[in-house]
Symmetry: C2
């Protein structure tokens, strides 16, 4: 078995192979995962973490790639995490990587990773948080976290990054409804991508309308237009992201975000670890027999869970 102390130095040096392995350890619950996180923990806290979310097809990947390029042009080292929860079985993550490869995957200053965990509740959010920390410790200046879906896990992930960018496109009137208040309330910045299409003003009016229904915030999320495929508007997005960072520092926002993120990390990990321990205590055979009893309607799920937890 490899040990955490062996991985630590190459990881802190920013070596891609060590980083990839460390993220896999976290995803898969490697026996040394906890030890590694403990050793890495003192070395982090410097990276700017930017989340990008929005409806499928809004061009989040393209926008992410362009932001990464622009940051590279400034000499920054950039990590990209593509959170891909719709691939519980196979394929999705690999597909996502392959599409991206052609654009920026050859740049030695850009580390790209698709995060797609299999099944564990909250495990994706937890593993993504771990990966952000590892990139931070490995000396990346900026971590871009891009979500593919628009579900609860994704809202959880992006709501506690430093700056949350919500990406929309023209001609998606219905979709604004679908994004709804949850996303609107976590947005620090709205980007209307594919802004060379008809209907930009309409989306802008709709966003303004949704904003007016939400509680007033001391940071008023700006609306920007981009055509990411042509690189248009990218510089403005980075400018606003930086303004938001300045605002956060001036208004105690960094502490608040750190606290939200700590709460999320604690909850995800507690749920995972408490479940794991309870199942280990009860034994796999017992757990399977309880699940069978639920499926056959001999036992309700609440009673089954109580049986596992009460026997501890």
């Amino acid at each position: 078995m490899e040990f955490a102390q062996d991985l630590l130095r190459p990881l802190l040096d920013g070596q891609f192979r060590a980083l990839a392995r460390a993220i896999s350890w976290m995803e898969n619950g490697h026996p040394q995962a906890r030890e590694l996180m403990a050793r890495v923990w003192p070395h982090m806290g410097r990276a700017a973490v930017i989340g990008l979310t929005g409806a499928p097809g809004a061009g989040k990947s393209t926008l992410t790639d362009q932001l990464a390029r622009a940051l590279r042009a400034e000499g920054k080292r950039v990590g990209i995490l593509a959170v891909d929860p719709t691939s519980p079985f196979s394929g999705g993550a690999i597909l996502g990587d392959r599409i991206r490869m052609n654009h920026i995957a050859d740049d030695p200053g850009i580390f790209i990773r698709s995060m797609a965990t299999r099944g564990a509740l909250g495990g994706l959010a937890r593993a993504t948080q771990d990966a952000i920390d590892l990139l931070d410790a490995a000396g990346f200046d900026v971590v871009l976290v891009e979500t593919v879906g628009v579900g609860q896990d994704e809202v959880d992930v992006v709501s506690c990054v430093q700056t949350c960018v919500v990406v929309l496109i023209p001609g998606m009137g219905d979709e604004i409804q679908a994004l709804k208040a949850g996303i609107i309330e976590v947005a620090d910045l709205f980007v209307i991508n594919k802004a060379d299409r008809d209907g930009v003003e309409k989306v802008e009016r709709e966003i303004e309308g949704m904003k007016s229904l939400s509680p007033t915030r001391s940071w008023d999320p700006p609306l920007l237009r981009t055509v990411a495929a042509q690189g248009e508007g990218i510089a403005e997005v980075l400018t606003k992201v930086r303004e938001h960072g300045v605002w956060l520092r001036a208004h105690g926002g960094l502490q608040r975000k750190a606290w939200e993120r700590a709460r999320l990390r604690f909850s995800c990990l507690l749920a995972e670890e408490a479940s794991r321990r309870a199942c280990a205590r009860a034994g796999q055979a017992k757990v399977e027999s309880l699940i069978a009893a639920i499926a056959e309607r001999h036992l309700d799920p609440y009673a089954a869970v109580a049986e596992v937890l009460d026997s501890a």
Copy 2:
């Protein structure tokens, strides 16, 4: 306090107020929730459960409403659960209900409920499963579970219903990529809604392409076209849903789905309950101090969780 035994009879009689209250009990973790589920449990197992998922803006709500109308015309009682995970803070669920109201909310044979839990990991999937069971026990013939998002929670919810309908629309080439293998693999039926728009054949080709990349299944998910807003194609969807039900019964699929669902229910509930108990044992003050320590970077999350669990 109200007791489970008082709610049981009106619930089994299918009274809407009792049903609404029972679902709220499950959502909010009412002290009598477990007792109620134990009493309700022997009375269920008859309802057909159909999930509808797909990209925002695909017209899932309209399709759901039309399916409900068609089922009503056959004299069926229909429950609709709109799973709305993008509204962790406010507004979303209410908005969804209001849009629907005009159409079918006056029908006494249709019970509609938006499910939107606040924060708890896996809590939405768990509460939705509880609500399905309650509708089943209350004598509803069909439960339609419609998801708003396309995240992990939603995949979890629809992957273990009886028949999973994936709704797409023409002109969303990129979105097919975004839905990816996870959704493709859980689909029992593809519906291309808004099929009066250009690009139907293109979507169909893309779905066939995605299907060809997935493992072969003994049930080959059919592709159907609808224009839900005009009621076109609805009868065909119901026919295929029924064919899928027949197929499931003939191939042991109902037991398999029941087992998957039992596993999901057990996992969700175990994570919630094990976390709750661990926090209760440690005490709220201790938990908050650990979260603060993570936020201030004195302690890594793995160590914090171990501290809560080891002290038990």
